[in-house]
Amino acid sequence: MEHLFLSLLLIPFSWIVFLGLSFFARMDLPERFLSESVKWMSILTSLISLALSILVIHNGSLPISINYPAWIQVGDYDFKIRFIIDLLGSTYALLTCLLIGIIFRFSRNYLHKEEGYFRFIFLLTTLMLGLNIVSFARSLDLIFAGWELVGTASVLLIGYFYNQSQPVRHSLKAVVSYRFCDMGILAAAAWAHHYMHTTDFVEIPSLLHNIHLQESGHGGVVAMTFIGLFIIWAALAKSGQLPFSSWLPAAMEGPTPSSAIFYGALSVHLGPFLLLRFYSFFEHFPLLLWTIGIVGALSALYATAVGRTRSDAKTMLAFATISQVGIIWVEISLGFTKFALFHIVAHASLRTWQFLRSSSLIQDFFENPVVQENALIDRKLSIEKIVSRSFRRRFYVHALHGFHLDYFSGKILEGLSWPIRTYIEFEKKWMKINNSLMMFIFKKR
């Protein structure tokens, strides 16, 4: 089992290394070679992850830990490299390998003759490696490594058409949201190291007991709550939950298969995945569970309202995705973890499918016997007719503008940056005074 797991990391890793070396050696690999190799790679990884999942279930879903020598050791303190093979991780890895396999096959024709095919393959393999690391990592530190790989691949694929300005702008938007929330992981990790000397989510719950006992000594519940909040914060951006919802619809700039795999399937579900990983920690803190639930519910409502006004295939799917992920958050907060995992798998599959098929819409509509000439497609819910027409209009316009999320987050940022701005103002004034002072002194001389 250990070998199976290890090969899931090593196969994409060695492929990345090979691609990287070939790039620096200016080898210019032919497209056919690339597509054939990724075909075998995805078949192999899919089979391995399938075997792994079967073994895990066969073992009665008991988690298995795999320990490697510590990465850094300082005195008696060490950063452990430890993985865990359990139902959650192996399911996610299986989903990853299968969907990426499908995407690889899809791109073989879709990106045929495309200059960026090499880049695309490289980044998708990076995604695979990142996700497999996240799936099996046993500590926050390791998760962060995979997390970053996924983020980087995601951002670079949004900017796939880097010679146009909009994709670059929107990938910048994504990178800012990502980095802002990555601070959450780092903060949580640092704090956890400080308080518990570990970020291992298998160990943490058992430590909690002690902490509860010596509440006053360790800063206790407050510290734990903050760690939890930081983890939630970290999960926000990846899954496009409020208030980080505006980058996701804007991220639909790359080739369709990359939008499908990142924002319909694998990258967006990393948020709930992280929460599931730490569920045994969260469940001790109702406040954290409430936070998860409220954020999820608000995001779901928000995204569905905004999504209903969107008239283009991809942004519309992006909002639909945010709203379903919001529901998954709510499920987690209610403690339905198994169900949430099932929901993740189902949702990821459905959205990938819808993204890949998004170019068929005109054909679908046109060939649908229900869609007739000169009759607006009736799609209103009767429930919406409860409210007055003018209210509906106002609501529509607000929803169209995403309920001014950018405006409000701008305001919040403005508030947060108040100390800095005040300081800058102060510095400017000080420089002026300083200058005139200097002038005065120099003149005297």
Partner: protein
Amino acid sequence: MTDAKDLSPLEVILEKVRAKLPIQNPLHSFVHNNILMMFEGKEFHEALADAGALYRANSYWSVEKYKQKYVENKITMNDVNLGIDQYLLHYNNSETAKMLNLDLKDFYLRLMFADIAFNDDEIQPDIEDRELWEACAQKMNGQELILPQGGKKYRAKAYWEKYYNESLAASTHPYVIKLISSFLDQGQSFWSNPFVKKGFWAFFIDDVEVVRKYGTEWQKILAKKVNAYNGLPPKQIIEAELSRINIPMESWENYLLELLFDLKGWSGMVNKLETEPWQATVQAPNIKLVDFIAALILVETSLDEYHAKLHSTDLAMIYGREETISLRSFHLSLALYQIVRAFNVPIPWIEKLSSEELVTLIKNVDSSEKEHLVRLWHEAFENHFYREALSAIVSHDRSNNKVTPTDAQVLFCIDDREESIRRHLEEINPNIKTFGVVGFFGIDMKFSSLKHKRLIAQCPPVIQPSRIVREVPKNTKNAESFLKLNQLKGMSDLSLYYMSRTLVRGFLSTLILGVVSIVPMFLQVFFPKQSKGFREKFNHFVSPLPESEISLDHTDERTGYTKKEMAKIVEAIISMCGLKKEFSKLVILMGHGSTSNNNPFKQAYGCGACGGNAGVPNSRAFAKMANDPEVRIHLEAAGISIPKETYVVSGFHDTCTDEIHFFDLEFLPESYLEEFAKIRSYLQEACKLNAFERCQRFSLPRAKHDPEFAIKHVRERAEDLAQPRPEYGHSTNALAIVGLRDLTKGLFLNRRSFLLTYDWKIDPQGEILQQVILGGIPVAVNINMDYYFSCVDNDNFGCGSKLPLNLTSLLGVMTGSSSDLRIGLARQMVEIHEPIRNMTIVEAPLERVKKIFDNHGRLKKLLYNHWMRLCVFDPELNEWFIFKEHEFKKLEIDILAMKNYKTSVDLINKKTSEDDFAEIG
């Protein structure tokens, strides 16, 4: 249109602006058009210069690309000379040549091969000739050339971009696109825009009201502005704003055009839905172009004011500014040096001219001569092809075609994609005669099929369909359950589409469908062909498509046809083929269409003559008409006697999968079956070879050698969800040949030609010729020009790469999450195309052809302004003519040697070079 006198000056300008906007239909009814149709009144190159400025696009390939062709020997010196000759017919005045004391032809020749790059800091040639350099430097010492960059500029856009790096695309466009896409939406979003009935202007006003509170700074200014206008109608707002910016009225048109062309696709669509509301996918919303313009102007001026405030600049200085580039003595001497080197003039010549004269020379070379450069290359490139084509057709030995008995007559569409299958079919069995007629078979109908009742116009877009024809089930009882199930399936598809994107219902459908959806996804991605077969079997099992027929009954004025009308339709097509009596036992009609999956441009691959749809209904209807005994009696009166034993079979050729289908075979008398089976097998064999020929253009090695594999491969392509190039469509089309098949039978044309059958012998009045030409040539030119423009500048005339396309409002596609509505064809559709204007070759007495072209407004424009080329073979005089310099001249051409192959397959297997033409047989 109302009388020009009743219109206010602004309205007159608006009409002019309207005429220049892109004319593309919503994608569901996409038709190939010359996208510059409104420029056809101008000479080709001049029109392209205008359009290039308007679309901010290159109207030709880059000079480098043509030069590359020269290196590859795709353009020879001979072509260059001929190209210059051709060009000189209309552009025969050059100050520069005079100054350089060069013969104009010599001058152009040198210009083409000169590498002149100045006022570009990055490219600097090596100075090899020091002496010359000294002379140039001395002459240019202290000189300055100021080059104005266009006239006065009334838009601040470029200014912000240049000096402050602020782009509209980042600030105002997302806002405008959000409004317009949600307003024009035809049913893609869950909520339809609640302002659809009230109109766009009301929507804009209400929206601005909301934005006032929560918007960015420029949006707040916008809100103030809108408030200040206090309910004024859009037209007056436009007038007020334009006057406020102080634009002289003569510049209004340009200003508005420039504004609209920032979002040319959306502007064009707004215009389309206003002027031709029936083109809407479902229903055109209440929008007027003035509303959109007013919104755009207000948004832009608000942004200007905001920027002006932000950067503390004075708007009055920016509006109406004049921008210049000045070349100083260093750059000037560099330019002069390059010119002298390029044109190989002696140094003393420099000494003779004054510095001022030299500066003028440089100015001329920089502005006008550069423009000529690319045109000359383009002409040379086209000439290469024309020369090859004409040489092949002129030299083609027609006496080879012995008169043979006729086994069957097969009527194909004129489409360039049918050229190859006709060739293969004739090679397989020389006794099968093929014809090329317009694929809608002259039936101007709106058709409603059993599967989707929606009425679809099955005729060229220039024709208003006059009748409705329906497909009806033979047995109503059987059909009922099918219709019900079909309706149900439609309902469930539609509600699933909306539901899966909402919250609660989305939750439920995700849980139910989610994991299941991995199965069809897996199958469709990995086994596209098999999964289609499975789906079809399943559908057939659940609710088999009931047997049906086409009902042509004339029940009221708008439905069906009378027998007399049917006879007229049949007569027209039959006489186009030159048939009067000599009918074979089986006459087969081959309508055509194209299967593709996940492809927003499906319409572009269909039968152009059927409005981009498949030609099945037309083929079925025509067969029914032609088999009708009563119709045949009427035909007899018109001099066309179809023998009793002749039977017309309706068939269909799928140009993507290379499958053929036949319809209504149950009416076929049993005694015909054996014969029919034979013909059918020939056709199937031809399809296979056709697929094989097509696969030469794709890049799958095995399909290039193995016909059996090729036919499997093309079928898979059609069903592949991920395939951006199901087929290459009309790519490489460049010719249209009107005449008897004998003219080109046995000639390999490499799928580059439309083939229209016309028999000059039975048409002394030229009436049939007129029908043939008017029915086919404008379509061919439209297709040709559409490909031309999408090919030369795919980003600005076309719609860019297919990869990030994002379907919007059920009308068109955007690139990425939000962009202009894209026009034209995708890069993957035109990547193998070569921009060559259509050359039409007609076999008919010259006078007949002349009359038709001179009397038809659009054709005359196309011909005289060089949007197409025309060549005539007069069989009475046995002489070839070419249209040049507004008249027909005898064609003089060097005959090029052509390779000879046994069969087309032989050619494909042995082919080494990329010749387009060859003798077969």
